[in-house]
């Protein structure tokens, strides 16, 4: 299982990347995709939608199960990764490149974990 040093994480298995200029990128971790198995559908919010920290902003369907994706931040969706909606297998193959949404006007954030802390979370699951 891969955990990247340069990213921050949530205990609910999302990763967060600070793109600067108040823009945050959100995706799901390698651990999450591995637990879900083959991902076949993904539902994302629309550009302009508000997301709220710790609340689901979308869901991911794998062959096995459906899983909510929780927002690490409160803010406004500036971009969604349309390509990933059509090519969901990228979430399995390259979870850290396959970002889901970019959020701006961030007003709040959950307590984020660094790579080492997140690694420990995974080891206890």
């Amino acid at each position: 299982m891969e955990v990247r040093e340069e990213l921050k994480y949530t205990a609910t298995h999302e990763w967060v990347k600070d793109l600067g200029n108040g823009l945050w990128e959100v995706g799901i971790t390698d651990f999450a995709q591995s637990e879900l198995g083959d991902i076949v559908f993904i539902n994302l919010p629309e550009v302009g939608d508000e997301v709220v920290k710790e609340e689901a902003f979308g869901d991911i369907e794998s062959v096995k199960a459906v899983s909510d994706i929780y927002s690490p931040v409160s803010g406004t969706v500036r971009e969604i990764n349309k390509e990933i909606v059509e090519r969901t297998e990228a979430l399995n193959n390259a979870p850290y490149e396959a970002w889901l949404i970019r959020v701006e006007n961030v007003t709040d954030c959950v307590e984020l974990l660094d790579a080492q802390q997140y690694q420990e979370v995974c080891e206890h699951e």
Binding site: G37, D38, V63, V66
Partner: protein, 352 residues
Amino acid sequence: MEKKTALYEMHEKCGGKIVPFAGYLLPVQYPKGIIHEHKQVREHVGMFDVSHMGEFTLKGKDALANLNNLLTNNYNSLKDGYARYGIMCYPDGTTVDDLLVYKKKDEDYLIVVNASNCEKDYQWMKEHLFGEAEFRNISDEVSQIALQGPEAVGIISQFTDDIPARNYSFRENVDIGGINVLLSRTGYTGEDGFELYCRNEDVCALWQLLLDKGVEPCGLGARDTLRLEAGMPLYGHELSDAIKPNESNLSFFIKFDKEFIGRSELEKAPERKRIGLIVTDKGIAREHCPVFADGKEVGFVSSGTFSPTLNKAVAMAIVSTEAAEGNEFEIEVRGRHLKAEKTALPFYKRNK
């Protein structure tokens, strides 16, 4: 505490993701994933550990009469060396279990039941036996591997010529690389293939022989997507103690030319029917999701998944016979209504 099958360590070695299922710890998938395993079975060959299944023996002068009384199917014409599907019902017509009966010879039968129902079935059958019938639960002594897919025959023929030629036939005491196997031309995937029964102590060697021939292991996940595409019922989904077989389109396996438990209830016309649905909106309908027609709730999803062959979400649903005539449905999935179209079952049928 869940039991382990004799193949447990093999699953760990093969990288299986282990989950609890029907009282056993079994692999839901291996590292390449459910879709890969599914396609492997449809296009080539794959193998499953199905040692969790229950096995009973029924012997004696009244064995046949007991089978005919306990099960909806008729076993009078079952020949030596053949297997026949059957359903076991309660007096109210709902279902105890569905199972497979193998006839070894007159007065000597092997019965294979679902793992989750094994103990319940054993008690039910024991309580209803009459006459001369020797009944034993041999589940803990028997392991089983399902070898499924168009290349299964090619694999088996590398070990033996003693191959059951017809669907639902079997051979006993077949030598597979020195291992004594009951080789049955049966399966639960919609493909050609075999189920191999052997002693627990031999099953790891048998698994290894098949691995060495390049057969990839497959888990419970692919087993479910494969049987669902093939429109095959699964107890707890399409059959249960609240679902009668004639509500699940299994009337072919109910024979009224004899007496059996549940007969009088099953003679009545069913009020529900099992249909196949293709979800046309984005999302997967799963079991228990309510099904609507013209804004009215008409039934529920009994099983639903993503079909790797069709590349679409599919579902089987049990709906009122009236609603089953329609073509357009909606399925409530996590608060959203997804559109679905009726389609003939099975979703997938192999070219023979």
